[in-house]
Symmetry: C2
């Protein structure tokens, strides 16, 4: 049973609720957006933020509001281990400077063995936290569980999201991106290969922290029959706005909306 710590109008037509989960001795802060006055089951999108970001980072908030208003969706986000309200403001600012320098190429990408080990530990911790958060919100009667759950997460949201989605059969489609498959990352590769749901994979061709060949290797690893890689020029922070519109259509295609079921497209692409 979720005890909400805050419930407020996020913007007209959208309600934002905050709550906390206790998972493995840790407190995990979570945020849930739904249409105002939502009743009954609806599609649910889980959004995993990027490194140094948090559950209420600007892009997640923007999408959660639009998804609620346009499609009647619920959106759930949680602070990843070592992020958001789980660290101090000073720690968050220092991390933002560090990550900012790396993703813009001003500092080395810095995937040292020590760092890779930290990332693996963070992912191992994050996966059961996501599962607990998902269990919790599916018990809410205004979210419900009618089998229409999608995942969205790029960069660290993919590093955590791929192992999570691989272990979570309730998720029906996923957007990943801004990440690659490094040689030797055997567990991550096995997780990607075991994913068979539809995937839209967005990749920046000049990403300072995800080399092209790693991005293509991750796309190739996904076990999905339906998977698309969208490559755009530019760096880690430069995903063009039309990709945001493409994600909307991807989710509506596979999950429908609160009011309508998912529906296959006409075979318009005949060439």
């Amino acid at each position: 049973m979720i005890q909400f710590t805050q419930e407020r109008q996020d913007e007209p037509g959208v309600t934002r609720r905050l709550f906390e989960l206790s998972v493995g001795g840790e407190t995990v802060p979570a945020a849930l957006w739904t249409p105002e006055g939502a009743k009954g089951p609806r599609p649910l999108i889980l959004m995993g933020h990027g490194g140094s970001q948090h559950k209420k980072t600007a892009g997640i908030v923007a999408r959660a509001r639009i998804y609620a208003k346009k499609f009647g969706y619920a959106t759930l986000a949680i602070d990843a281990p070592g992020h958001g309200d789980r660290i101090s403001r000073e720690q968050a600012e220092a991390m933002a400077r560090d990550v900012g320098a790396r993703v813009t190429g001003q500092a080395p990408a810095g995937f040292t063995p020590e760092r890779l080990k930290q990332m693996a530990q963070r992912t191992a911790q994050a996966v059961p936290e996501w599962k607990a958060a998902l269990d919790a919100v599916l018990s809410l009667d205004f979210v419900g569980d009618d089998g229409r759950i999608g995942y969205w997460g790029v960069s660290m949201g993919t590093a955590i999201g791929v192992p999570f989605v691989a272990q979570e059969p309730r998720i029906k489609c996923a957007v990943f991106g801004l990440a690659g498959l490094r040689p030797g990352a055997a567990e991550f590769e096995a997780a990607a290969r075991s994913i068979t749901i539809p995937v839209e994979f967005v990749f920046q061709w000049d990403d300072a922290v995800a080399p092209r060949e790693h991005g293509i290797a991750l796309f190739e690893a996904f076990g999905s029959a339906e998977k698309t890689m969208h490559i755009n020029p530019g760096g880690h922070m430069g995903i063009p706005p039309f990709e945001g519109a493409s994600w909307e259509r991807f989710y509506v295609r596979h999950l429908g909306t609160a009011e309508t079921a998912a529906k296959a497209l006409e075979p318009m692409a005949t060439v």
Copy 2:
């Protein structure tokens, strides 16, 4: 002044007109789809068919009808040199068998020096034919010339379309695909590099006639600031239906519709 050889209702709400152009001593058959009763200027899409296909090939017809009904667009298609009504039925059937065997990998891709020379000659002939066809339809008061012209062409439609679009400043955005940049194709590469309009480039990862590295090289060559490569698994004939829906949004984003101007997207992709 165009003399139409046929004008008929293609399906309810859509008019199809046929006409012929005389270009360099050759007769070039053309087809034009518009909304029924169209008056005044509207966006125009030029559709270049694939090898062994023709101006009324199924995919072109399907898109032309939908574009007319949903967006009020005009669509123009012409038979490429050595295709459609420019050859006999027997020649067309033999070519369809030959191309079919190559694109499905049942026969070698067969880019011999002789074949590459033939392709270059065909392109050199096709470019002025496209220009003449475009000049002709822009003089029609129900198509008009308000500067909203897009190109669509994959496979041979890209082989011809890249040099054509490179030389045609009236075209404002283009969909290309199912083709690559072969080492040594200096003229084709120069044409791709000179293209700076928005490009959506669709590519099949297991294409028997367009190797992956050639596809990526062509994507990299485009001089456009806005260019996206969509990679999907499968062969030359397997572009998934949702790419057709993506093309619609690409054109509406850049050309608007008959009723509305093009409009920039909100920056929804913030991550």
